[in-house]
C-alpha cells in the first residue's frame, strides 16, 4: 500500500503562557517540547490509531499535520504535496482533502448557528454548491450520519452529545475529504453512545473510502478501530506496528505498562510505572521514558534509543526490548 500521508521528523515547540512574576523578572520562557521529531506514515484506506496519555502530544500531532498549529520543523507530505510549504490559497484548497473531528461535541459547534448553517458553511467557503443543490447536499449529509432533515433548523444545544458528534462528523465529511483526523471522537460520550459513533465512523469509512488518523487514550477503542497503531510518549513515537500485534504482544516497556493498566484484565501481574510523567518543558535526556521504566540502565539515561525495525512491519524505540532482535 502507498502512503497517503508521510510525516518526517515533525517538531513542535511552543512557549507556554508565562506567569506575571516570571515575566517581570525577565525570565526566558522555557519551551514546551510537544513533538520531538515524530515520523509516521499513514497508508491510503487504513486507520492508524495513535495512543498516548494526556500531554504526550498526540492531539498536537493531529493539529500540526493539518496546520491548525504550525509545526516548528519537519515535513508533512500528503499524496505528494508538501503541506508545510503551501501558501494560504493552496492550504485552503488542501483543507477539502484533510479534515478533523473534535473531541468535545459541546465546544466544537458554534452555539449561534443552526445545523444547516454549520453544514452549509464548508460548501459555501469552497464555492462547491449553492441554492437548491446546497440544501440537497446538507440534507443528504444529515441522512448519511443518521440525523433527520428536520434537525437542520435546530441549534446545537437542542441535541444530545451523541447527536452533536454526528453533526461534527457531518461537517468534516461534507467536503468529501480523503483523510480525517479523529481526535478523541468518542471520549466525551456515554458508553452506549460511544459504540454508535464508532460504528458510524466505520460505516462512513467503508462507504466513502476514507483514511483515518484515530487519536485516543482508550486502548480498547484504538484496538477495535485500528489497522495499525502508533504509541506516543512525551512527544516521541515509541512503538508502531499492526494493531493486534502491538496490543497483544507489546515490546516497548511503556506499551506493556499501558496494556496491562487497561481495566478488565484482572488487577494482578500489572507492569507498574514508576513516578509521574516528567514535564514536557524539561524532558529527561537519553530515552525519555527512562525515569519511569523498571528496566532502565545507564545506556537509557544517556543515549536516545534508535528506532529498530522488527519483523512484521513493526518498529520499537528501545535499547533493551525485544531482547533478541531479529
Amino acid at each position: 500500500m502507498t502512503a497517503l500521508l508521510r510525516v518526517e521528523n515533525l517538531v513542535k515547540h511552543y512557549a507556554p503562557g508565562q506567569g506575571l512574576l516570571s515575566r517581570l523578572l525577565g525570565q526566558k520562557p522555557r519551551m514546551v517540547q510537544a513533538l520531538n521529531g515524530v515520523s509516521l506514515e499513514i497508508r491510503a484506506g487504513e486507520t492508524l490509531g495513535l495512543i498516548g496519555e494526556s500531554g504526550c502530544g498526540k492531539s498536537t500531532f493531529g493539529r500540526a499535520i493539518l496546520r491548525l498549529h504550525e509545526p516548528t520543523s519537519g515535513s508533512v507530505r500528503f499524496g505528494g504535496t508538501d503541506v508545510l510549504a503551501l501558501d494560504p490559497a493552496a492550504l485552503k484548497a488542501m483543507r477539502r482533502r484533510m479534515q478533523i473531528i473534535f473531541q468535545n461535541p459541546y465546544a466544537s459547534l458554534n452555539p449561534r448557528k443552526t445545523v444547516a448553517q454549520i453544514l452549509a458553511q464548508p460548501l459555501r467557503l469552497h464555492g462547491l454548491a449553492s441554492g437548491a443543490e446546497l440544501q440537497e447536499r446538507v440534507r443528504a449529509m444529515l441522512a448519511h450520519v443518521g440525523l433527520r432533515p428536520s434537525h437542520a433548523e435546530r441549534y446545537p444545544h437542542q441535541f444530545s452529545g451523541g447527536q452533536r458528534q454526528r453533526i461534527g462528523i457531518a461537517r468534516a465529511l461534507i467536503l468529501n475529504p480523503e483523510f480525517v483526523v479523529c481526535d478523541e471522537p468518542v471520549s466525551a460520550l456515554d458508553v452506549s453512545i460511544q459504540a454508535q459513533i464508532i460504528e458510524l465512523l466505520a460505516r462512513l469509512k467503508r462507504e466513502l473510502g476514507l483514511t483515518y488518523l484515530f487519536i485516543s487514550h482508550d486502548i480498547a477503542v484504538i484496538g477495535y478501530v485500528s489497522d495499525r497503531v502508533a504509541v506516543m510518549y512525551l512527544g516521541e513515537i515509541v512503538e508502531t506496528g499492526p494493531a493486534r500485534a502491538v496490543l497483544h504482544a507489546p515490546q516497548h516497556p511503556y506499551t506493556k505498562a499501558l496494556m496491562s493498566a487497561v481495566p478488565g484484565g484482572g488487577a494482578e501481574d500489572r507492569v507498574r510505572l514508576l513516578g509521574d510523567l516528567p514535564s514536557p518543558m524539561d524532558p529527561p535526556p537519553g530515552c525519555r521514558f527512562h525515569t519511569r521504566c523498571g528496566f532502565a540502565t545507564d545506556l537509557c539515561r544517556s543515549t536516545v534509543p534508535p528506532q529498530r525495525a522488527l519483523q512484521g512491519e513493526r518498529m520499537v524505540a528501545c535499547h533493551h526490548f525485544p531482547e533478541t532482535p531479529p
Binding site: 459504540a195 460504528e199 480498547a220 493486534r244 496494556m259 481495566p263 510505572l273
Partner: protein, 316 residues
Amino acid sequence: MTEPLLEITDLRVAFHARHGKVRAVDGVSLTVAPGECLGIVGESGSGKSVTFAAVMGLIRPPGRIEAGRIRFAGRDLVGLDAASYRQLRGRDIAMTLQDAQTSLNPALTVGTQIIEVLAAHGEGNARARAVEMMTMVGIPAAERRLGDYPHQFSGGMRQRMMVAIALSCRPKLLIADEPTTALDVTIQAQVLELIASIRAKLGMSVVLITHDLGVVADYCDRVAVMYAGQIVEAGRTADIIGSPRHPYTEGLLASVPDLHNLDRPIRPIEGQVPDLIDLPPGCRFLPRCPKARPDCAKPVPMRAVGEGRNVRCVLT
C-alpha cells in the same frame, strides 16, 4: 449474614426544574456489607452519583429526598441534622470526587488541607498522621511536600492526595465517585490499586461509582447497574459480567470493545437515555430494548433470580 454497613431502601430523589420534576433517583434499594466493595455502574443521568450524594447528605434545593430510608451503621441518615452530618462525613463516610483538579483548594497548601480535616475530627498528632497518609498513597518525600500547593502536584498525585484526605480519618465507608475518569489508564490503575490495598488494610467498605465495567470486573465484589434512576440488575460481579440477565447490562457489555477479545464485534445500544421528566410508566429501557414485549409497558418490579441476584425485567 452480617448486618449491612449501609442500607438504602426505596430511595427517591427529585429535582424541581422549571419544566417539571426530574426524578433522578426513583426507588433505589441496595446494601453494602462491612469490608465489601460494591460497584455502581451507569451512564450520565442514571442517578448513580445522586444516590450517593443523598447518602452524604449533599442534596440541596431544588433537589429533595422525597421518600426512602438510608441506614448507616444502625443510624437513620435521612433528616439527620447538619451538625451530626458534619461529624459523620469525613470520619465515618468519606467521598472522593470525580474532579481532583477542582476539589482541592488552589489557595491552600495540601498540608493545610489534610491537617485541617484531621484536626476537625479531633486527631491528636495531625501533622504526623498527614505525613503517614500521604506516604501511604505513594507521595514521595511527603514531609517536604506538605508545603506544596495543588498546582505543584501532577494530576495523578492530586487524585492520590484526594484519596489521602478522604482516608485520613479511617472512614468505615469510602464512596469513590468516578475516581479515575479524568485520569490516564496508568494513573487510573495506580489510584484503584491504592484504594484496593487500603481497603484490605483498614477493612473498610468501598462504593465505586463508575461507567467502566472493566474497572468493576477488576475491583468489585458485587455490582449494581443503574439506568434512568433505577437499579436494573444487581448481584455478584462475576455473575453479572459473565451472564448478564437485563438487556441493558447485556447491551452495555456488548457496546464496549474488549482489548482481550478484539474480534468480538461491538453492538451499540440504539436510541438515547429517556428524559427523566417524562418517564414511561413501564420499563425505562423499553424504547431502546431489542427484546421488548407488550407487557414491558407495565411497571416492572425488581425480582430475585438466584442467590443474591436481582433483575428488573419481565423476561427473567
